[in-house]
Structure formats: structure tokens, C-alpha cells
Amino acid sequence: MSWLSLLILIPLATALGVVVTPESKWYARRWIALWGTGIVLALSFVMSATYMQAVQQRAGDASLLTVSKMEFEHAVPWFSSMGIEYHVGVDGISMAMIVLTAIIIFTGVLASWDVKERSREFFAFLLVLVTGVFGVFISVDLFLFFVFYEVAVLPMYLLIGVWGTGRKEYSAMKLTLMLMVGSAFVLVGLLALYHAAGAATFDLNKLAMVDYSADLQSWVFPCVFVGFGVLGALFPFHTWSPDGHASAPTAVSMLHAGVLMKLGGYGVLRVAVYLMPEGAKQWALFFLVLTTINIVYGAYAAIKQTDLKYFTAYSSVSHCGFVLFGLCSLNLMGFKGAVIQMFSHGIMTGLFFGLIGMVYGRSKTRDLTKMGGLSRRMPWLATSFYIGGLASLGLPGLSGFVAESTVFLGGFFGNRWVDSSTMRVCTLLATSSIVVTAVYVLRGLARVFQGKISNPQFNQLDDATVAEKLCTGILVATLAIVGMYPPVLIDLIEHAIVPIVNRF
């Protein structure tokens, strides 16, 4: 029994607790959910600290590694005939993702404080979903990884289809189908690697020691990249995201944009880039161009949106592009920036969707053209929104800058396998998105919060409740802490990135 298993057992147990709570005590469910996720959050911090100690004790050797060093490892045979194990372990990258997930689910529960309709099923599905996400991040065995991946994607369908708004059935169906097609690609890739390695193991690090032929890598790499890329909103497979986010209930949008989309980038790094460096070298240029389109095109598309959720969804398409862009740089700064961006964007977009839910709950509209002057009525929410917006346009002092500047440097420095002028042109194009981002963020925020109160009914609205203040406060503080003192995140992830870079 490892500590890591607690990360999936606690949410599951909490889900069970929510289910058995009688209907007459519906308000107890949110407290159970809050306690359960609170314990997970505390656990994730303790584990990060322990991980950091372990890393410091073996400081120095990491620079020579070409295989990721896992901590808290634990393996139990599962289907021994096929070499499948329940094998869990974490390195700095997964640790950072676990902390991110724990923060988002905790604040997500706070943002769902007032869900009364079928709250039993709502919280239960939410917790099952997060179990799947934790499962993905702790898996070392790729079969286990894939199982958890599916566990994470499926509850989403129900959560959007039942608790969503607008064209929820259409959006839920679209999202699920597109993600399923993506996982089919991933599965094909995983099976190809499994067979090429002798069909004896799904263990990530054992697979990493196999020398795959360049031919194999040249078709498996794009398969896996696109498969995960669908989830990471890779152009042109991103269109599930605006519809899906617009229809999803608040906490689901938070988890989905905040964490689930990060599974895409995580999968690309862990499976595609790590296992298939040769494939990555061959395909880097192709995907670099696609992700550049992601970044620039998402930002321009965001300018014209009038629904706050579509607005944020397109902004996410642009920002998630930075993750995949960084991964295509194939160097230390690119990978590092990608991981920081995963964390930063997760928190930032969780904050956005949480705030949109809160504002929408009050004003009953998400239409930018109908809003105005809200900061007078809700200063707390307005301030949080502004801080989130400034983080998204890459203001130094907030986490977005740390991530983006690292990605830009990574792209500009380039690598030996892609023509440096092309890399630089792409990087500069990606960099130009900081201006476009400033345009749409400032326009959007000014519309909603500044000016005169546009609708007399808005005069009755209140500012955030205690639960909402706690929710937004935690997220804003995280953005600021990482932004003001980046070593808290960089020290955590750097040692885990070095072995991946060393393989190139």
C-alpha cells in the first residue's frame, strides 16, 4: 500500500459517503465533499514536500539520468500474463499536476456549494471524475494510465448532459465522441509500443529502455500526439472545447479546463515525447506549426466572442497552445515552460470558470453586450476577475509570465532538428499573441465590470459569499505565489524534466 493509492481511495470513499447520505440531509454532502477534497489537498502538499526532500538527497545524479526517477513507487501484478501491473509512482511533473488537481477540486466543491438539484449524483460523479484524474497522474503502468484516463472522461458526459445549460446534450455528445476518437488513437499507439517492446510489459520506464525503430516512431508518435492533442485542444481538434465548456456546470468547467485539458499535454510529454524521441524530432516542425496556429488563432477568435464562456474557452485554446508549443521545442526550457503553463493555466482557467459561474448565478446572463458596471456591486469578484485576466495576458508577478517567458525562450533557442529560422518565426508569431490577449482581456473585463450599471436589476446584486471568497481567494493566491516566487514550482518539476531532455 502506497501513499499514492490514497489519492484515489479518498475521493472514491468520499463519493461513497456522498451517495449514502440520506436525501433529507443534502447539505451534509457538500461538507463531506469538502472534507474529502480538503484531506486530499493537504496530502498533496505533504507529498510534494516529501518528494522535494527525496530529490535533494540525490541531487546531482538526476542530471545524468535518461529514465524518469519515480518516488513512492508501488507495484502489484494485475494481469500477469500480459505484464499488466497496478504500478504507481510520481515524479515532479506528476506531483505538480496532482497539486493542481487537488486545488481545483477543492475550490470546485466550494464553487458548487449551492448545487441542490440531484446533489447526490452531482458530487458523486465529480468525485469519480477526479479519481480518474488522480489515477492518470500516478500511473506508471500505461495500461492503468489508459483505464484511469477513460474513467476521467466518461463522467463528464453525464455531468454536462444532466447538469449543464444550453445545448447540453449536443455538447456532451460532441465532447465525448471527440475525446473517444482521441483515445482510440492513443490506444493504437500504446498497443504498438507494447508489441514492439516484446508484449511483456506496459511499464513506462521499461518501455523507455527499449530502442524503437525510427519507422515505428514515425507513425506512432503522431498517432499518440494527436490522440492526446484532442484533449489538449490541438488545432483543428479543439472545437469540442467551446461548446463543452459553455454547456458544462461551473465545477465541471473548472475541472475540465483546469485539469482534464492538462491530461493532453501530460500525455504528450509522458508517452509521446518521452518514449519516442526520434518520432518527436521528425514531427516537431509539423506540430509546432499547428500549435502556433492554436495560439494565434485562438486569441483572435476570442476577440469576437460575446458569451463569457465562449470567450474563456477560446482563450483556453490559445493558452493550451503554449503547452503543446513548449513540448515541440524539444529543449529544457520548452518542456519546463510547458509544465509551468499546464499548472498556471489550470489555476487561471479554473478561476475564470468559477468566477463566470458566480457572476452568471447573479446576473443571469453571460452575454457581454448586456453586462456593465458590475464592479460597483461586486468588488471582490471584479478584483479576482481582473487578477485572473492580468495573469492570462502574462503580467509578471503572476504565474502566466513565468510560463510564457520560459516557453518563448525555449522556442527561440530551438533545437538541432528543426530549422532555426522557422522556429524563430513561429516563436515570434506566438509571442505576438500577448498583444491580442491584452486586447480581448481588457475589452471583456471593461465590458462586464466598468462603466455604468447597464441594467437596473443589477443594482440588487450582492458580492461573493464566504464560500466563493475562499474559492477565488485560494486560486488568486496560487497565481500570485507562483508568479512572485517561481522557484516553488520550478524546483519541484526541474529534476523530473532533465531525464526527458537527456534523451534527445
Binding site: A301, K304, F412, T431, L442, G451
Partner: protein, 652 residues
């Protein structure tokens, strides 16, 4: 450099940061009056610490010494690209520290009166402290990334303060415009950082090997430190290289950085945000949009001066842009009637002077460098005074338009006296501050044999005297032109005392040898001829102003009418805003809107189309799904036979 204050110079920017936290905690609701006290006290302490630092520095044996006295690791990109936050102490950072803390202190005190009773009093002081913190961080930056970090932070505090009156549409529009225009410029700055980061890093890494260009590069050598970038060996190595499209790498990098500087310092054609920024509270205009933030661009060029000087082309561009803006803005200033806008264009023009001075300097003849810093320093005081005086007038009259002022000389004696002092100072009348610094700039241009630039400088000196006296006469002399002006009275002492302090600085500030402090050991000499020319230019300008606006004549209107189209062109600021508006509109219409449409209809359409195809296919497959076990059985048997036949064939 040893001593408590050197090693703890971070305490200076920390003061306003502490003020923000204290205000956030203590000055809420009923207690919001505390905000002003806390903010002013904190910046007062920062000012005293700066004085202590300055005195300690002057006692050093080695004048002109530069050292990073404190630093912590902040952002680790990779080896030799580790960014630290630190404090770089050298003459120019010290000079800027003095300017920023002193003007900021006076503006904090002045605002106690000016902003009294405002609903957003606490918010105002939080933003003001945030700005001061960021500006101090910028000034002390020992590397390019820290510079960029605080560069963006001053930008955002400027944005917040311009949009302080957030219900006014023009304030909202102006704040967005300021942020986006400077952001656009910062994009180039960032690109410059990427270019320098890459190539200097390459040199530093090579420094470890035998073919070292950077003597003795250690693991401590960081590519983005100013000390590394400004090193002669690095600049020499960069100068030889060619960058993209066969251009001179160093020139490209420096020009990219200069675009950033030009954005922040509102140089033509990126100046459009500054006049609109006057929508913010007037003390903010004094601090941010006159004395400190807008000179950050000049400071950046000065900070990286060795690079500009090594690439002579980049320096030529600085000189050209500076001289053009200097002239262009001064011409516009002659036609504006909004008191703050006249001052805004005057600020553009004076910053143009500073850039021009840097542009005519060189490594061998650095006089222009000293003159630029000198002018930055004197300008901060007299321009802050002009804005605060304007604020006092606006406070009393309730309008920005000079057409509704007039005759305020007797009604507001302190404001009048100090405003006149500043007007004389900016016009370059001896022995006030502006005379000395402007004279040094003209002298540097003269010595460098830049005849055209010298001519522009003299002409603008004359124009400056003209439009400033025009403003002075319209505001303070003659009869009152509105009922509000009739009823105007002097502002409270909390506002007039800062005016007097700045008045004293505008009067005597030029007597301090700033150039000698900035350029120790460099021979600087005065030019009697240049002095004569500059005084004559000022006299012509002042005379013209009195001739046109002094009496009850309509000479001004007659001249304006006789100029016709030219006058309208200038009055509308050469229609540059309209051009930008058109371009932005084009981007929205032809890039953003199509992108959004394309996504909804083409990309998403393709996804939906493939879904529809699959759906059709599935519907077709329904034929086989009869639900009859017998049918399934037949298919199964047929299938098994097929597979067996296939296997049998393969076996053979």
C-alpha cells in the same frame, strides 16, 4: 560598496509594498482616510532611505562605481540564464531613485487634498503605492528580465490609474489604449530580450572554452545581466554577427529594445496613448505621465547605452526619433486648449529632447548622455510642478479648458507663483533648472557637429517658450472667462506646500552638477555661444506668446485662420489617432471576425460533417442489426468459414 543601506537597498521598494498590504488590511470602509497617511508615510521612509543611500554613495572613494549589492535567485530558465531579483547601484539608478521617491512623496501628500472625499480613496493609494513599488524595482534592475518585469508592472499600474474613474467611458477607453499601445511596443522589447538572450548566452557558453570571447565566464555569468550585455567583449563579438535577413545582429537587437523604450516613453509614432492618459486623476499625470514612468524609456536606453553606442545605426535612430518627436509634439502643443493636453504634448517634446541627447552621445564624447540624465532630472521637477499646478487650477475651476479660465493670478497666488516658476524653468530662462539641462543638450549636439539636430533643438526651445507662455497667459492673466473662474480660490496648504517644494527644485535644481555625478572624470565645458542662442530662442518664444495672447487682440485667431488647413491638421494632432482607429478596425474586421467565423463554420463544420457521415454509415449498418438470433447465427457461421478458408490459404 559595503554598508547596511547598500546591502539592504531592497528596503526602498519594499516600503510601498508594505504600504499596499497595510492599506488593504487597515484602511477599509470608514477608515479609508488612513490610506493616504499610510501611503505617504511609507514613501517618506523610502525617500529618507534613498537620501541615506545617496550620501553613503557620495562618500565612496570610487565615484561612478556600479555594483549589484543584493540579489536573490528568482527565475531559473537554464544555466547562464538564471534571473535574479537584485539592486544595481550606480549613478543613474541613484539619480532615478532620488527623482522617483521625491516626486512620489510630494504627489502622495498633494493627493491627500486633491483626492479627499473620493469614494475610491483607498483604491487610489493602493494603485499609487503599487506604481511606486514597480518604478523603484525598475530603476534598480540589474538585468533585462527584472527590467521587463517591473516595466510591465508600471504599465499595469498606469492602466489602473488612468482608468481610476471607471464609470467614465473616456477613462476606460484611455486606459485600454495606454495598455495596448505600450504592450504592442513591449512585444518588440520581449523579442529583443529573446534575441539578446540567445546570442549572448551562446557567447557566455563559449566563454568556458579556449576560444573565449567573454573573458573568464563562470557559472555565475548570466547572459541577461546588464553587466554581461554591456561588456565590451560581448558587444564586439555581437557586432560582427549577422542576424535574420543578413542584418547586423547588434543593431537589430538594440532597435527591438528601443521600440519598447519608445512605447513607454511615448515617442512618435507610439505617442498616441499619452495625451489620452490625461483622463486619469491629475496627480497621477504628474507622477506617472510626466516625471517618472514615461522617462523609463530614456532610462532603458541609458542603461543599455554601450550597446546602442557600439551599434552606431541604432543610436542614429534614437537621435532621429527623439528629434522628430521633440518637434512634432511641440507643434501640436501650440494649438491645444485642454491644459493637461498641452502639458502632455510638452512632456512628449521634452522626452524627445532626452532621447535626442542620448542619440548625439557616443562612447568617446559622452556629454549628451550626462545632459540627457540631467534633463530627465530637472524635467521631473518642473513638469510635475506644472501638472500639480494644473491640478490645483482644475480643482478650483472644475474644467480642463483654458477657454474657461483666465485671471487666476490674484485668486490663486501660490499656484500662480509656482506655475510661473515652472514655466520659466521649462522655457529655459536662466538661472532656472531647465536652462542648464537644455543648454547642455544643445551643447552636446553642437560639439557632435549634428547641425540639423542642433537646429531642431533651438527651434523647439523657442516653441516651448511660446506654448508654455501661451498656456500661462490664458490661464492666469487677463480677465476671468467663466463663472467658475470668478469663484475660484486657492487650494489648501496640503496641496500648495508640495507646489512650493517643487518650485524651489525648479528654481535651484539646475545648480547641481548632475552631469558630473553621472559622468565622473569626464571633461565637460560650457558654451557661451550656445547659451546665448538658447536664451535668445526662449526670448523670441516668450515675446511671441505675449504679442499674440497678451492683450485683448485677436491676433491668434487671425493667424490660425490664415494658416487654414495646416492649422486644422495640427489641431487634430495630424489625424494619427484616426489612422490607428482605422487600422484597429481593419484588424477586427478582417482578422478577428473571420477567425471566429471560420472556427464555427469551417473547422467545427468539418467535425460535424464527419459525425454526420459516421451517423449515416451507422444507419446503413442497421440492416444487419435485425435482432433475430437466426440471422446472427448465419453471419457467424459464414464468418467462421471465411476465416478458416483464409487461414488455410495463408498456410499454403
Amino acid at each position: 560598496m559595503t554598508g547596511f543601506i547598500f546591502e539592504n537597498a531592497w528596503l526602498i521598494p519594499a516600503m510601498p509594498l508594505i504600504a499596499i498590504l497595510l492599506i488593504a488590511v487597515l484602511a477599509r470602509g470608514e477608515n479609508r482616510g488612513l490610506a493616504g497617511m499610510i501611503g505617504s508615510a511609507a514613501i517618506g521612509v523610502a525617500f529618507l532611505m534613498t537620501c541615506w543611500l545617496g550620501v553613503s554613495y557620495l562618500r565612496l572613494a570610487d565615484q561612478g562605481a556600479a555594483a549589484v549589492t543584493w540579489s536573490i535567485e528568482w527565475l531559473r530558465y537554464q544555466d547562464h540564464l538564471v534571473v535574479s531579483l537584485g539592486t544595481l547601484i550606480d549613478p543613474i539608478s541613484l539619480l532615478l531613485l532620488v527623482v522617483v521617491t521625491s516626486v512620489s512623496l510630494l504627489v502622495h501628500v498633494y493627493s491627500l487634498g486633491y483626492m479627499a472625499g473620493d469614494e475610491g480613496f483607498s483604491r487610489y493609494y493602493v494603485f499609487l503605492s503599487l506604481f511606486t513599488f514597480s518604478m523603484l524595482g525598475l530603476v534598480l534592475a540589474p538585468n533585462l528580465v527584472q527590467m521587463y518585469v517591473f516595466w510591465e508592472l508600471v504599465g499595469v499600474s498606469s492602466f489602473l490609474l488612468i482608468g481610476f474613474y471607471y464609470t467614465l467611458p473616456e477613462a476606460i477607453a484611455a486606459s485600454k489604449k495606454a495598455f495596448i499601445v505600450t504592450r504592442f511596443a513591449d512585444l518588440f522589447f520581449l523579442a529583443g530580450i529573446l534575441v539578446l538572450g540567445f546570442y549572448v548566452h551562446q557567447l557566455v557558453v563559449a566563454g568556458g572554452s579556449a576560444a573565449s570571447v567573454v573573458g573568464a565566464a563562470t557559472t555565475q555569468t548570466q547572459a541577461l545581466d546588464f553587466a554581461t550585455i554591456n561588456a565590451d567583449s560581448v558587444l564586439l563579438a555581437l557586432k560582427g554577427q549577422t542576424g535574420i535577413f543578413g542584418t547586423d545582429l547588434l543593431t537589430v537587437a538594440m532597435l527591438l529594445v528601443f521600440v519598447g523604450a519608445a512605447g513607454k516613453s511615448a515617442m512618435f509614432p507610439l505617442h498616441v496613448w499619452l495625451p489620452d492618459a490625461m483622463a486619469g486623476p491629475t496627480p497621477v499625470s504628474a507622477l506617472i505621465h510626466a516625471a517618472t514612468m514615461v522617462v523609463a524609456g530614456v532610462y532603458l536606453v541609458a542603461r543599455m547605452f554601450p550597446g546602442f553606442a557600439a551599434s552606431e545605426d541604432a543610436l542614429r535612430v534614437v537621435a532621429a526619433v527623439g528629434s522628430f518627436t521633440c518637434l512634432f509634439a511641440a507643434v501640436i502643443a501650440c494649438t491645444q486648449t485642454d491644459i493637461k493636453r498641452v502639458l502632455a504634448f510638452s512632456t512628449l517634446s521634452q522626452i524627445g529632447y532626452m532621447m535626442l541627447a542620448l542619440g548625439v552621445a557616443s562612447a568617446e564624447h559622452p556629454a549628451g548622455f550626462g545632459a540627457s540624465m540631467f534633463h530627465l532630472y530637472t524635467h521631473a521637477f518642473f513638469k510635475a510642478l506644472l501638472f500639480l499646478g494644473a491640478g490645483s487650477v482644475i480643482h478650483a475651476v472644475g474644467s480642463n479648458e483654458v477657454t474657461e479660465m483666465g485671471g487666476l493670478r490674484k485668486k490663486m497666488p501660490w499656484t500662480h507663483a509656482t506655475f510661473l516658476t515652472a514655466t520659466l524653468a521649462i522655457a529655459g530662462v536662466p538661472p532656472l533648472a531647465g536652462f542648464f539641462s537644455k543648454d547642455e543638450i544643445l551643447g552636446a549636439a553642437w560639439d557632435g557637429h549634428h547641425a540639423l539636430i542642433f537646429g531642431v533643438g533651438v527651434f523647439v526651445a523657442s516653441l516651448t517658450a511660446f506654448y508654455m507662455f501661451r498656456l500661462y497667459i490664458l490661464t492666469f492673466l487677463g480677465g476671468c472667462r467663466s463663472a467658475e473662474a470668478e469663484r475660484a480660490h486657492e487650494s489648501p496648504p496640503v496641496m500648495t506646500i508640495p507646489l512650493v517644494v517643487l518650485g524651489v527644485m525648479s528654481l535651484c535644481g539646475g545648480w547641481i552638477g548632475v552631469s558630473h555625478f553621472v559622468l565622473p572624470g569626464v571633461e565637460l565645458h560650457a558654451h557661451l555661444a550656445v547659451m546665448g542662442i538658447s536664451v535668445a530662442a526662449a526670448a523670441v518664444g516668450i515675446g511671441a506668446a505675449f504679442w499674440m495672447y497678451g492683450g485683448q487682440t485677436n491676433r491668434a485667431e487671425t493667424i490660425a485662420r490664415s494658416l487654414g488647413g495646416v492649422y486644422r491638421l495640427v489641431k487634430h494632432k495630424f489625424y494619427i489617432d484616426e489612422i490607428y482607429l482605422f487600422l484597429t478596425h481593419m484588424i477586427f474586421r478582417f482578422i478577428a471576425a473571420p477567425a471566429a467565423w471560420f472556427d464555427r463554420h469551417v473547422v467545427d463544420g468539418a467535425m460535424n460533417l464527419s459525425a454526420a457521415v459516421v451517423h449515416r454509415f451507422a444507419a446503413g449498418m442497421n440492416v444487419f442489426q435485425t435482432g433475430q438470433v437466426q440471422t446472427y447465427g448465419i453471419w457467424m457461421i459464414n464468418g467462421t468459414i471465411l476465416v478458416m478458408v483464409f487461414l488455410w490459404l495463408v498456410q499454403r
